[in-house]
Amino acid sequence: MLEILSAVILISAIIMSSLRRVNLLIRGFSVQSLAISLVCFTLGFKTGEVHYYIIGALTLLVKTLIIPIVASKSVRELKINREMKLIIDGYWSSILTALSIATTYVFLDNFNNDFVKAGFVLMVLGGIILIGRKKAISQMIGFLVMENGLVLFEISMIKMTLIIEILIILEVLMLSVIMGVMVFYINKAFDTVNTDYLSNIKE
């Protein structure tokens, strides 16, 4: 079960790193978040600790439902469907993905946990999505993928006290909500969510 879920997480991240259609990106993200929340539930079921369930439920609520719904709503309103010009195009971003995955696995050779590595890979791939896109909304998705990695990393690496873990997760989720709101405002102020227009501040 956990193997399948980690495979789903990785596959969705790799596919997302070369996608250019925004609504597919959002859908991939929600699938990934669903997998992560299922990972949390499975771990909770295995270890019997409560905080896994809480983290899982929060992820399920915020990342699989609220953010994708809000994001796809703004996609529909803006009629932006695809990135026309990527900064790193699909081909090279896949190659970059492959290289960075290999590097990550070499680097984290002496960790025995699958999810630590998967989390790190998600962080790197989220960075690639973030760097390679111009639209604010896909940059947001890239950032959220990074956050997913952070969550995976956090739940699998060390154990912390319950309140601290929940606070961390809450803050991470709050940041993603804030980003959603920011995208909304940017889109209102600029009539577009292309960050190409975001270069008004000059030296």
Partner: protein, 306 residues
């Protein structure tokens, strides 16, 4: 030994049936009735009864090409396990299998170039363009399989994976990479549309535009066998559970039934993919294959560094 020959014969005979089933599923999913599943057999029979027409300006390549293609396809069918594997065969090296399958591609492109028709040349160059990107992927997948099972022999790989109970996540990722490669290699939907003869987009059909009669029958049969072989390889490497590893009747029956079910599931998946995705532009095909490349790299790193 005997059982290997029998299962390969069954695969060759059933290959047109599988493409018939695929066409039928697609027709049903699109909401019309479609041709009967045995239609490919009728087509081949009809084509075989026609006489050979060869262009005057073409060389010996067009004369011998279709036969070489068909024989390569049949030969590679004899190198693959279908539902039974003992795991100690001398034949079945994956590299040999892949290269024999490449002969099909090679002669296809030669035939396309040979008749000096513009479409043929265009199809050949496109085919080579895709092949150039797809070739490294299969070596990466083979490397993954080697890291997983320490073997390049497909019979042995199938046997080892058939008795394995746990699947790693690397296995799944590699399976996805192989699936994408399979689609690209067999000229299926996001890469090439096997149904149309539209000049601007066709790849595989463009190369065999000049072939007719018996030669066309050979090539059609060969491509049906090729699809069946690829799916079988996929099933045997990545999903070989329930495969017969001993020669008992119960195991064999179970293996055959499971094989058919798996085959039908994958045909269904391919059909769904084909009816739901539009064909990519030619220059976006490398993106798809690059995704497959990164899946393969991911699988290898997951397997090797764990």
């Amino acid at each position: 030994m005997i059982i290997n020959i029998i299962q390969s014969m069954i695969l060759i005979i059933a290959a047109p049936l599988f493409s018939g089933i695929l066409k039928r599923i697609k027709a049903i999913l699109r909401g019309y009735e479609g041709a009967p599943v045995l239609q490919p057999y009728f087509d081949i029979k009809k084509l075989l009864s026609k006489e050979r027409v060869i262009s005057k300006s073409s060389s010996f390549i067009t004369t011998v090409g279709p036969i070489i293609i068909l024989s390569a396809a049949i030969l590679s069918a004899f190198l693959t396990p279908v539902f039974f594997t003992a795991g100690n065969e001398l034949i079945g090296n994956m590299f040999i299998l892949i290269f024999i399958l490449s002969i099909i591609k090679f002669f296809n492109t030669l035939i396309g170039l040979d008749c000096a028709c513009t479409f043929g040349g265009m199809g050949s160059s496109r085919e080579m363009f895709i092949y150039m990107f797809a070739e490294p992927v299969v070596f990466l997948i083979l490397a993954f399989v080697y890291f997983e099972t320490k073997s390049f022999n497909i019979y042995k790989i199938a046997k080892l994976n058939a008795v394995r109970t746990d699947i790693s996540s690397a296995h799944i990722v590699a399976a996805i990479a192989f699936l994408i490669w399979l689609i690209a290699e067999n000229a299926r939907m996001p890469v090439d549309n096997p149904e149309t003869h539209l000049e601007l987009t066709m790849v595989h059909e463009a190369m065999i535009l000049d072939i007719s009669g018996r030669d066309l029958a050979y090539i059609e049969l060969a491509s049906a066998i090729k699809l069946a072989i690829f799916l079988t390889i996929f099933i045997n490497i990545f999903l070989p559970f329930g495969m017969a590893v001993s020669l008992s009747a119960a195991a064999l029956i179970k293996a055959v039934i499971l094989y058919l079910i798996k085959m039908l599931v994958f045909l269904l998946i391919i059909a769904i993919v084909e009816i739901s995705i539009a064909k990519f532009r030619l220059f976006r095909v490398p993106e798809l294959i690059a995704a497959s490349f990164s899946f393969a790299i991911a699988a290898i790193s997951m397997m090797y560094f764990s």
